[in-house]
Every structure is written in C-alpha cells, then in structure tokens.
Symmetry: C2
Subunit: 617 residues, 2 copies
C-alpha cells in the first residue's frame, strides 16, 4: 500500500476548486526575510513543576519564546534572518487524523521553496513507523497538488504513532542521522508533542544536528495552553458536527416524538461538545468536566435528564436533543471505579468470561445493574494508554436506557403524566474527521507550516509553532514559537487512564475550564436551550459567501492572546526603563518605585505554589 | 406545543442568509397569466391494471395531463387562465420530513398572493391529525419569513400521517367543508399521495368543492415514474450523506486499518445508496434490488464481501468503505422469511420471549445462528404497514460481524494471510433529514408550490404537481400536472410488507431500475471503486460558488423528460395531420399510411399486457 501514497488522484469539482484556494499569510511571514525577536526565558504555569521539568529536560528547558516579525518591524534587538542555506527537513503525521493536516505540509514546503530552491522536504510514510523504517516520499509541488486544502492524512498516512520506548527513540535518531535531516516536524496532538519534546531533548543530548518542531493538530482541541489558542482540525470538526446536530434538532422539532442522544468525540476533554452546543443550541449537554467536578453518579445524571424531560412534557414537548462526549463514561465516579477493576483484572490475565465473577461486591452490584450491551462493551480490553475503548462504549445508549426505565417508572407511579419517552441514539465520530478542512483550518495549518520553516531557519530545537490572536483576521495573526517544556505540567496524583504519567512531565490535555468564558456562555443560556428550543443551524461548512469566515464560538469568546500580552508587558517594562532614566526627577523615581513595589508584591503572592491549581487560560 | 408552531425563531447568520434566497421561476410561471394545455386522456403503465384502477377511481381515472405554458406560447388550443377569483386553500405535511418541504408552502403562498390578495392559505398543524381536528394556522409572509429555504417540517409539524380509514376520510371531508376550502395540498411521498388520490375520489363522489393536489416530497426518492423525475429532499439527503461517506473514505485511507460499514436510509428502494455511491465512490455498495434480483443469501453476501476484503489485502489494503440501505435486511430471502414468521407470531399475540421457541425448524436454525443484538432487533414489533422496524435493525453490524467471523476462519485455515479484519459501523439516518435544503431542492419545491396554485386555479382534482427536464437549468424546466391514477399500479402478488396492498391500486415506491443508466454507471465502475480507492469528495453542501448548482448524478444520467417527449409526439402527430391534408398527392398519402401502419404495428406489439413487466423509465 505504501506505493499508493502521494499519488495524484481524481478530485470532485468541488475538491478541485478547493485545491486552488491559496491561504493568506500574515504580514510578518510575507517577503523573504523575517525578523525574530526572543522574549524572556520561559517558565511553566505551575512553579512547583519547574524543578522536575528542568531535571527531565536539562537541554531544552527554559528556552525563550520567539516572535516572528516583519522585516520592517521597529524592534531594536530583533534579529533578521536573511541567510537561508539549503536544509533537509522530514515531516510526519502522528496520531488521529485531523482536517487540515495536509496544509501544514504544504505551508512548510512552500516556505522551504521560497527561501532556497535546494531545500528538501521528505515525508515519512505511515507516521512514526515510516520514521523508524526510513520510508520516505520527497514532497514536491506535483505531489501536493491534489492534497492542498483536502482532508485526511492520506498523502502520507499514519500508524500507531508513538515515539516513546528507547528502541523507538533510537530508531528515530538513526533515521535523522542517516537522512542528514536539519529538522524534523511532527504533526499531532498532546501525546505526539510530548514525544516530540522527548525527542528534542534526546537529539540535543546526542549532539544530533536535527532540530525537532511540533505542530498543534488535533480535532479534540485539547492541546490548549498559554501559547496555543486552538488546534488545527477543531474548527472543522465542530462545524461538521454542529451541522449534523442542528439537522437532528430540526428533525426532533418536526416529528416531536423523539429524544436524540448524541455522543461526540472527545476523550479526556469535552471541548467539541461544548463548542457544538454553542453553535447549535441543543436542549442539553453533559460535559465530562462538570460530572467530574460535581462527582455526579449515573443515578444523578439519569435524574437530571428525567427531570428535564418531565419539565418539557409539562409544556407539551416530547422531543429534545442531548449531547455528550465519548469520554463521559470515564468521568462518572462509580463507572470509572468499575472500569479500573475490570482493567486490573485484564492485566492479571483474567479471561473476559471470568471477570464479572471476580469483581468486588459493590462493583459487581453496579455491573449486574447495567444492561447487557454495556456490560459487553465495558469488558473490552483497555487501550494501550489504559483508557477504556471509548469509541466502542455506547454511553448515549446507556443513558437513554436508564432514562427510559426511570420515565416508565414515574409514569407507572403517576409522578409523570405525559406521553411515553422515546429515544434515538447517535454517535458522531468518524464522519467529521475526514472532512474537507474549513477555511480557518486551511489558513491556520498553512501558516503553522510556514512558521515551522522559520523555527528551523533560526535553529531552534524543541519548539512548537504557534499562532495567536486567531479570532482576528489573518493579517492580525501573531506568529511565534514556544518551547515544549513551557507547556508541560507534572501530575502528582491521578485518577485514571493517565496514571502511567504520574511524576513525569508531559503536555497534558487541557480540559474545559469551568470558570472560562465559553462555559459561562453555556451556563447563561442553559435554561433557554433546555426549555425554549432555540435551535440554531450554522448550516453546512461553507467555503464561499456568508459563513465561510465564521470561527469557533469558544475561540471568539475566550480572552486569549497570551503571546500578545507577553509582548505588551515587555513594552511597558521598556517604557518604564526609558522614562525613569538616571537624571529623572526624584518624584518620578519615587512614584515608579512605589508602583513597582506594589506590582511585584501582588505578583509574588499570586505566583506562590499554593495557588498553582488555578486555571491556565 | 401547538402554540409554538409558526413562531418566529432565532436563525444563525447562515440561516438568515439562506432565508433571503429567492428561488427563480421557470418562464411559464412568471407573470400573472398562465396558459394551460391539456394532453390526451391518461392511461396507466400496465394496461392490465387499467380496468381495476378505473373501477376504484371512476371519477378521477383517465383525466388528461396538463402542461403549463407561458402566456405568449403559440399553442392553438391552450386556454389562458386570466381570471383569479379568491380561493381558500389548506396545506399539510404528511409522512417523514424531507428537506425543502417548507418551500412548497412558500411557493404556494407566493402564487396565491400574486394572483389575488384575498386568497387564504391555511396550514394544518401536526399533519393529518391537524386536518382531522381542524387545527390550522393562517400562513402569512411574516410567519414564513424564518422558514424560507429552511429544513425540517417544524413550521407546521407532522404526526402519524395516514388518511385511510373511513373515519379519517370522513373527518378530512368534514374539515374541508367546514373551512370552505377550494383546495387541499398534501405534501408527502408514495403513501401520502396514494391517500391523496383516495381523498380526491371521495371528495368528487361527495360533490365536495375541495380539489385535492399532491406534491412529491420524500427523501427516499422513490416516488418516481413517467411524470415524476425526482422528489423534493432527495438531492439534499444524498449530498449530506455523500459528504459524510466521503469523509469516512478519507478517514479509512488515512488510518488504513478499518473497514467502515455504513447503513443509509432507504426502505423498499435503494436510490439513496446508489446516488451516494455515484457521488462518493466508496469501495462497495449492496443494493436491496440486486439482492432481490439475484436472491442472494446472507452467506452469499458475506462471501462476496470477504472475497473483496481478501482481494484488497493481496494489494496490501486493509481498509474500505461498504454502503448498504436500511431495507437490505428485508431483501435477503431467508431473513425475510424469518421476519415474516416473527411478525406472524406477533400478530397471534405471542410474547417476545416465546417467539423464538415457536419458529419453524429452519427459521429457528437461522435465528439461533445470528448474534444476540440482531436477534433482539428482529424480534421488535413490526411497523403499522407490517414492515420491520428498519431503522432499528443494525444490518451493517450483522454483516460486519459475519465478515469478521469468516475472515478469522480463513485466517486460521490459512486461506487468508493478511492482517486481522477490523470493522466500524455507522448508521447515517436522521442526520440528513433536517438539513438546510440544497439550492436544487429549494428551487424545485418552490416551483412545485406555484404549480399547486395553478392546478387549483384551473379547477383540477386528483392531480400531482410535476416539474420535468429537471437536469436542465430552471429556465428550461417544464411545469405540469398528472393525475394520481396515471401513476398507479396494482400488485397481484407480493412478498412482504406491502402484502396488505395486493389487488388495490396504489402509487408504489419505484425501486432502483437494474437496467437503468444510473445502475449501469455503477456497474461500469464497480471494479475500480472496489480495488482502486478512487474516493471522491463532493464536499459539504454549498449554497454559493462552485458546487452550489451540482445535481444528483442519477438525475443527470437518466434519460427522463417523459412529459417533454409526450409533447414532442403530439407535435409529430399534428405535423402529419397538417402535411397529409385532403388534396395532398397520392404518393404522400401512401407513404404516410405505410409508415403509420408500421408504427402502430410495432406499438401494439410493445403494449401487449404480457410485456407489462418492463421497466418504467
């Protein structure tokens, strides 16, 4: 099958038209010379982690942020990169495919070609396995032509996608040396970028010339931190899913007899469910983060939904739409504990048929209470990271089943007097993943590809390409690079699948911030969504005309642009320095001292380790 | 909930933009006066049915076709409708919602307003139940404003939607009399239009002034005959599903480890599956009609798919996409027979728990062979028309399960040497139904709405509004009306759910024509689709720019325009008459006689009852 990679293919008229779309570049990346400005050395969000992280990553910890500016920008100590010797770069897809991935490669290739026609870009076939086995395809304009602005990862393919074991890291190192790569660009999500960080450190230690760069591409949208506002693919995924959810809402309202329970992708974080809710206004959404925060049990959730169904029935409404993320099942405390017991027994080699008889009494009681289809799914072998096989567990059917039982009981007891409750269940997973990427994802990915080149041209190792101020038009986007290590945290305790990572620094998935603006927007509207059927249909993904430039609601309401603020702070500090020069009046100096003393006091208190659990964004 | 119908609602920007779209009218419907030309009296496609149909429908059988022409058209005996006294019209949605339904109402309302501002349009709330209970909403421009070009049926809602029993027909008659309706427009598929035909006959018999008009709106696309080329909603449904199928194809090709089995809507006919295949080029499709024609068993189907999987594995391909319609399960002969036994036992009042023990030995053997989830689904109560609950039966999972078992067996026996077979199953049903309608469906529905008005203005009863030459641009569309009875057939034998209708004339669903051009196109490409992964992504539904004017592939390749040809024939006959007038040379008369004798001979032979089973299109 390898021989099929990169071959030109037949495109539909619409695909052809899309392949001709040329994403814009922000002003700082236009032209052939780019200025780079380095910020201060980076720290990490939780000061107590700093020591551990610097110990694991002695060579790549604490590197400064980099900002890319246009050649004409008036910044006194920014360096102009005008020399562009030929370089050799490798690139690979790692992890679940996400719409827009191809454009990272296109952007990178385009930047390489602009700056030196002798630059070489090698794509690794089949993800990390291609990296280990040195299976490459040289990327050319011809090869790219039918993949520009197209979905999927089929230009190069992907596989298991892990670079973690000593053998894997050594194989990657060997490949980079043999192929004489100056840079290796890894396109992926939290896990792949954590692996990339490890690779960067190992390469630095081994004095390998290859610099490692990461690109935030994951449809879950959970690679999110001070430097990364959103991921390539999230926008498309939410738009495609929102369209389908809205269609189902319209359907519910037309037939007026069904409750639709829709499970969406999203494992440890419910960003997709939240964003789709803000786009489509379904009646209810249950976020894993809410369930975790309030420790809601299956019983609580069932009751919550039943009460909603009952309240709606009192208004003569017998239809509705309920969203939930696939990760929800692991957020429910008692189910989570049951899963842990089951996985434990799997590890001990207990056969599937015998597991139920070896459960603890209370886990057994819960297990026996569940309907057969869920029992079977809970008994599935866990995935390699010890999490449950979430795409296979039909949580939406479980909830629909429990709600139906409870509503029938209420009906029988006379507590509920409405019509019979009917549910239809859906899982919207793989439908969105292969979509043509939205204009936003096309642009974002393409720009990130360009930035990768500049990171390598400057010679940085262990960085992720970043674009901030994304809610503004492309010409206002800020391009930069942040060290992987600055995005890391260390988990000291953990319930659940990520237990393996305790004590080891990693880029962890960001969960939905229950104190954030996007969630606040949901809470403000939750009652109206629930009772008033103010369904909203964002319509199918558009590439032309109205709607084509729409951006994710959560991206627009969140108050991000951390990179912009970091720069703004620097400008303030510079201004203070230029105003309060030796020779300035005593009063000015005194005022400056007093103001600075108070600022530093406040900041010291706020940065104390005990506060480290506060939210990141 | 009734009070919620027709209320203005919050639209997304994209919905708002769509609500401003104004569909075009073909030239014949522009202006305030329209010419109507009547064709010859109609017959039916199978001459042996004519007697039965005329007996059931003495007052509405044999009515002529009507063609609507522009006022200036030079047709000698076409009548100009210039007077437009005020009329009162009722309209209702009947049956499953289909994208575009709202535009029929808009088109009708717009035509009513243009021709006499005193015209009144009443919408029945909740489908046929609203008709029986006289629950109406007066349609105004204000009310329509947020429903123009929008999906769903939520302006008026729908319910069970049947007008068949004596009580139901009497209630409908009473309503039409009380509300003094001049016309009743029924928006729906084959069943609803058959009900409409019955209503028209009953109204005529009862000397009720209300004329009944039908509109072909069903996303299954199975209301198809000489006069009806496609149905409102089919285009949108196929486009939305094709997008999702293409996304899954891209996904399959990127990950290269899964076979996706996708079940699509489509009960007795597989039009949606065929059209989606022509749009997306998945590896395989199994049409119910093929299975019926070749009497393929579950074993045959499993073998067919396994052989395909094996052939692909030999080319190192371990992924693929297989489509099937929800009606497939009833096309498989032995499963069908099993379902008939189960439904028979249901009718005898046997409880679900006891059914399996009362099956015949061979049915029991098949039943026991099936996996538990399918057993449970097959045991569900049949629907009111005696068909299985197709949306609940996961045929895609059954096939995936059987293929996996067989592949594992082949692997064990050494007959297959590839990687383990992995399947992921999807049902794409309700996601498409509530979509914003495509431009084509918006236009088609709007024009049909206008035609309904003209049918009523001419005073016709028992007609369906028709538009032909749909594959051409709107300005080439031909508008007309055909009597319901001309679309009827009589089933003399029937395996299956439609057994109830034996001997009674009805508009039956048209199945995929295995000798038609669309199917031929599929067959020509089947091997390439299977082996070469020439996946094609038509992209998301577009309303602007490229792709917005794309039409269904099957609509474009089929050689339809029956109405156009009927008119052309008439022109030939008229020409013969005008050339061969008394006084013409003997030679000319002789040549005409000889040619006409041969034409009539050929046609007589072709029209003999024994040939009646040939295809319609």
């Amino acid at each position: 099958m390898d021989s099929d990679f990169g071959i030109p293919r037949e495109l539909s008229d619409h695909q052809k038209q899309r392949s001709l779309y040329q994403p814009e570049l922000p002003p700082c990346l236009q032209g052939t010379a780019v200025r780079v400005e380095f910020g201060d050395a980076t720290t990490v969000v939780d000061p107590t982690d700093a020591h551990t992280i610097s110990r694991y990553f002695p060579r790549t910890y604490g590197q400064p942020l980099a900002h890319f500016l246009r050649e004409t920008a008036k910044v006194h100590d920014a360096q102009i990169i005008a020399e562009h010797p030929a370089i050799r770069v490798g690139v690979l897809f790692s992890g679940r495919q996400s719409p827009g991935g191809h454009n990272v490669i296109w952007g990178l290739h385009s930047a390489l070609q602009i700056h030196n026609p002798n630059n070489v870009l090698l794509g690794f076939l089949g993800g990390t396995e291609g990296l280990f086995a040195q299976k490459t395809l040289e990327i050319t304009d011809d090869i790219l032509s039918t993949y520009k602005n197209q979905g999927g990862y089929d230009l190069l393919g992907r596989t298991k996608d892990q670079i973690r074991t000593t053998e894997q890291v050594s194989a990657a190192l060997a490949t980079c040396k043999i192929l004489k790569l100056d840079g290796l660009v890894i396109i992926g999500g939290v896990t792949s970028n954590t692996d990339a960080a490890q690779l960067a450190e190992t390469f630095a230690e081994a004095k390998c010339q290859t610099k490692v760069v990461g690109v935030p591409v994951t449809l879950n949208g959970d690679l999110k931190n001070q430097f990364v506002e959103t991921d390539v693919g999230f926008d498309t995924t939410c738009k495609v899913n929102s369209q389908l959810i809205s269609n189902v809402c319209t359907d519910a309202l037309s037939a007026e007899k069904y409750y639709y329970f829709i499970r969406l992708m999203g494992r440890r974080a419910s960003h997709v469910s939240l964003e789709c809710t803000l786009q489509s206004h379904p009646n209810m959404v249950i976020l894993g983060e809410e369930v975790t925060a309030s420790k809601l049990t299956l019983f609580d959730l069932t009751k919550q939904i039943c009460d909603a169904v009952q309240a709606r029935a009192e208004r003569d409404k017998y239809h509705g739409v309920v969203l939930l993320p696939e990760g929800l099942i692991e957020s429910i405390p008692e189910v989570y504990a049951l899963l842990q017991e089951i996985h434990g027994l799997h590890r001990q080699g207990v056969s599937v048929d015998n597991i139920s008889s070896q459960l603890s009494p209370w886990a057994s009681a819960l297990f026996e209470f569940l309907p057969p289809f869920i029992k079977k799914q809970l008994l599935l072998h866990p995935e390699s990271d010890d999490s449950a096989q979430l795409s296979q567990i039909e949580t939406e059917k479980l909830l629909a089943y429990l709600v139906e039982m409870e509503m029938n009981k209420r009906l029988k007891e006379g507590a509920y007097k409405g019509k019979k409750f009917n549910a239809i269940c859906h899982f919207f997973g793989y439908q969105a993943r292969g979509s043509l990427p939205s204009k936003f994802d096309c642009d974002y990915a393409y720009v990130l590809g360009h930035i990768c080149y500049h990171i390598l041209a400057v010679g940085l190792n262990g960085y992720m390409a970043t674009v901030t101020n994304l809610k503004s038009p492309v010409n206002k986007w800020r391009c930069g690079a942040a060290p992987f290590t600055a995005m890391m945290t260390v988990k000291r305790y953990s319930r659940g699948p990520s237990a393996l990572s305790i004590g080891k620094p990693a880029i962890h998935p960001a969960t939905v911030d229950l104190r954030g603006k996007a969630y606040e927007l949901l809470r403000q509207n939750a009652t109206r969504f629930l009772m008033e059927d103010i369904y909203r249909n964002p319509g199918p993904l558009q590439f032309d005309g109205p709607g084509a430039d729409a951006k994710a609601v959560s991206l627009c309401v969140e108050d991000q642009d951390y990179m912009g603020r970091i720069k703004e702070l620097q400008e303030y500090l510079n201004k203070v320095r230029s105003i309060v020069k030796p020779g300035c009046p005593q009063d000015v100096l005194k005022a400056a001292l007093s103001a600075m003393a108070s600022v530093t006091d406040i900041l010291s208190v706020m940065s104390m380790p005990s506060n480290s659990s506060r939210t990141l964004l």
